[in-house]
Amino acid sequence: MAARDAIVIGAGIVGAACAAELAHAGLRVTLLEQAQPGTDATAAGMGHIVVMDDSPAQLALTHLSRQLWDNLAPSLPDTVEFDRCGTLWIAQDEEEMAEVHRKHATYGAAGVETEILDAAGLHAAEPNLAAGLAGGLLVPGDAVLYPPVAARFLVERAVASSAKFLADTPVASAQNHTVTLRDGSSLHADVIVNAAGASAGQLTPGLPIRKRKGHLVITDRYPGFCRHQLIELGYLKSAHSVSADSVAFNLQPRRTGQMLLGSSRQYTDESSAVDGRIVQAMIERAEHYAPGIGALSALRIWTGFRAATPDKLPLIGPSLADASVWLATGHEGLGITTSLATARLLADQLLGRPSPIAAEPYLPARFENAQKTGAHD
């Protein structure tokens, strides 16, 4: 039976996108947020809308998401700062150039436009990069946006489609069609969508999600210091190895002219405090690629937590234990990008509509065996 009403928990970008999509599809939606829209991981994210090909499923999801952002782009208010600046993957040496060629082929096969740059092309595209880099891969269709405002925009869209939005409303529990608020009152619906980000496991126990901490540094305004979102290709190796702490060079030009510098990944640290050791490693990495960056003035550092799953893919679909509770979480470092495709897949499943891509790789059921044996970690 198709659902008629839904409660979405969490107004991060994922919950906001789900609420907007479900409300647009005609469901009666209530969106519950313990604080204000987009103030948790969504506020911490870089807002890079990026196609990634760590796995075929990741490529399918990010590619669909980017198309959905493109469709939405004309309706986005200026304050979302959507900017199709493109991604530039940087290769240090011939080994990484081989990766450029591999990526070029994979993206091409999927219909994603890319362009290979040699050393001179890289230098022309980004004069502030270090000399001696081998080249890079330009992905012109990737974009950057400002996530907290995008999340709020999606909440407003949901509300415009008659969804009810309650901010400052923490949920205490969610099971068997019933959501109990921390104030003791309860709400009922055909489906409950748990989009509580890294906290989703508090409402749905046993999720294979770990918090993965990240640091970012934002500078004063230096328009043109870089023009594309820059990522070192070593990122693939460091970001996706699931164990130790890692840093990688990742520099984003904000539409304000500010530079946003990332990034780090840590599993062990659950405190939101800034870790000077990590910041130092991040900056040293950045100075290696963009030697002039040391002179830029840094305004703020912040940290945030990615909700990481063992296979680096999100959980989209019904939870294992309770058919009334659906999941939309576990987006690791890609939830800004994949929020829209997540909402789409979720709505398609709930309404029995066909989806543009296969939903199976993201179903929570894929962890069923692991969860039974507790072996997923």
Binding site: G38, G234, G276, I283, I301
Partner: protein, 432 residues
């Protein structure tokens, strides 16, 4: 570079100078650092004027005491921006990172002016009250300029007197506090030298109208300031002027204290009788513990410096005098409490955040500081919300966000660390 000292004093205003001298005179090795090019803080900034009063005499006495003490290392143009570890401060000096290791630290970071946004407050020609004074001390010519001094606090008269002496034509001094509060205050300080100081300032500004219960509601002008509209609650009138010096008393600089984990109560750092905060080895003196003016800052600085040096008896001996001065500080807070009407100073189009051009209309839609910051960028610019955050703390009663390093903008190179780290450390983190 990392330098080690027994005691590090942050802030070389009166409180910091007194703390450094008191500690060094007990035989401790002291560093006194300040982000200004010379010691003196706000009140003793720049060269002395011709007028020799109690303030300039105290300045000479203390600067002399400071300079002749070889146990004090003064670090000028040196700004603390982070606390990278236990007993360690990170500072930037001449674009270089310097780390300071301490056994005890005294925070004497002073206060800044409170600015409340009203229509026209961003026009060239509108300054803070202490801000304009500082600009003049740094060389801004004001001879024959027409100046209105407005806002709140004892600083207004001091600034008006200074501006008159430097040749400006001060056309009015407007204090938002009522005559009734001021007279009660006058009576309460009648037995102290304070009244004489106030009277002295008033004498030096004789001929300038002093309005109590009066505040600015708008500044006007094309490219630069031409006039200011004042209100007393029942009537509004407009005064032509070239400069407006306007500040609504002071807010303490508590960011470093917060970063060190000190407890704050109602915006001020909590300290015990010996100026020690709730964090071991961290002392605090001067305006961050309560806005009390020069003499209290000096008294607190001495107690803090002596206590940090372990001279507990000597510190205790100075407690009674400090406590008398604190009673005066409490009076100040009551007298110059901001009136209700100021809550409506900002109009829809008034820019609240100058760094990011955010208007009152935009920011006042939100229910709290964090959401407003994230959605509008209010407070996200180079001043890190020091100006608009303090204003919104008053206007909308929004409590400030948690304090994160860097507490001042700093170069990325300085953020990275005092020296290039050992490569081994990096490779431990780097996987590829």
């Amino acid at each position: 570079m990392t330098r080690s000292f027994d005691i590090v004093v942050v802030g070389a205003g009166p409180a910091g100078i007194a703390a450094a001298c008191a500690a060094a005179e007990q035989g401790r090795r002291v560093a006194l650092l300040d982000d200004n090019p010379a010691p003196g803080g706000q009140i003793w900034r720049g060269p002395s004027t011709a007028h020799r009063d109690a303030v300039s005499r105290a300045k000479e006495r203390w600067l002399h005491r400071l300079q002749q003490n070889p146990a004090i290392t003064s670090l000028h143009g040196c700004r603390v921006f982070d606390v990278p570890g236990d007993g360690l401060l990170a500072a930037e000096q001449n674009g270089q990172r310097v780390d300071l290791r301490y056994s005890k630290v005294v925070l004497a970071t002073g206060a800044r002016e409170l600015f409340l946004p009203f229509p026209g407050w961003t026009l060239p020609g509108v300054y803070g009250a202490g801000g304009l004074q500082a600009m003049v001390k740094a060389g801004l010519p004001v001879r024959d300029q027409r100046v209105v001094v407005a806002g709140s606090g004892p600083l207004l008269l001091a600034v008006a007197a200074y501006l008159r002496e430097t040749g400006a034509r001060v056309s009015a001094v407007c204090e938002q506090a009522s005559w009734r509060s001021l007279l009660r205050f006058g009576a309460s300080i009648a037995h102290t030298s304070r009244l004489w100081q106030a009277a002295g300032y008033r004498w030096r500004t004789r001929g300038t109208p002093f309005h109590a219960g009066c505040w600015p509601v708008a500044a006007h002008g094309g490219k630069t300031l031409e006039s200011v509209t004042l209100s007393n609650g029942t009537r509004q009138w407009t005064v032509p002027c070239d400069l407006l010096a306007c500040g609504f008393h002071l807010v303490p600089n508590t960011e470093l204290a917060s970063l060190l984990g000190c407890t704050l109560q109602q915006g001020f750092v909590t300290v015990d009788a010996l100026q020690q905060t709730l964090i071991a080895n961290v002392f605090c003196a001067g305006e961050p513990t309560g806005i009390g003016g020069l003499e209290l800052s000096l008294a607190e600085g001495e107690v803090a410096g002596l206590a940090a040096a372990g001279a507990i008896r000597a510190a205790q001996a100075r407690i009674p005098r400090r406590d008398r001065l604190r009673a005066f500080a409490a009076q100040l807070a009551v007298t110059f409490a901001l009136r209700q009407e100021l809550h409506s100073l900002s109009k829809a189009d008034t820019i609240v955040c100058r760094c990011e051009d955010v208007t009152w209309r935009t920011v006042s839609q939100y229910t709290g500081w964090r959401a407003a910051k994230l959605q509008t960028r209010c407070g996200m610019g180079p001043c890190q919300g020091r100006i608009c955050g303090s204003a919104l703390n008053f206007l909308l009663e929004w409590s400030p966000d948690s304090v994160r390093p860097p507490i001042f903008p700093v170069s990325i190179a300085s953020l990275a660390g005092p020296t290039a780290s050992a490569p081994a450390e990096l490779s431990a983190i780097q996987e590829n």
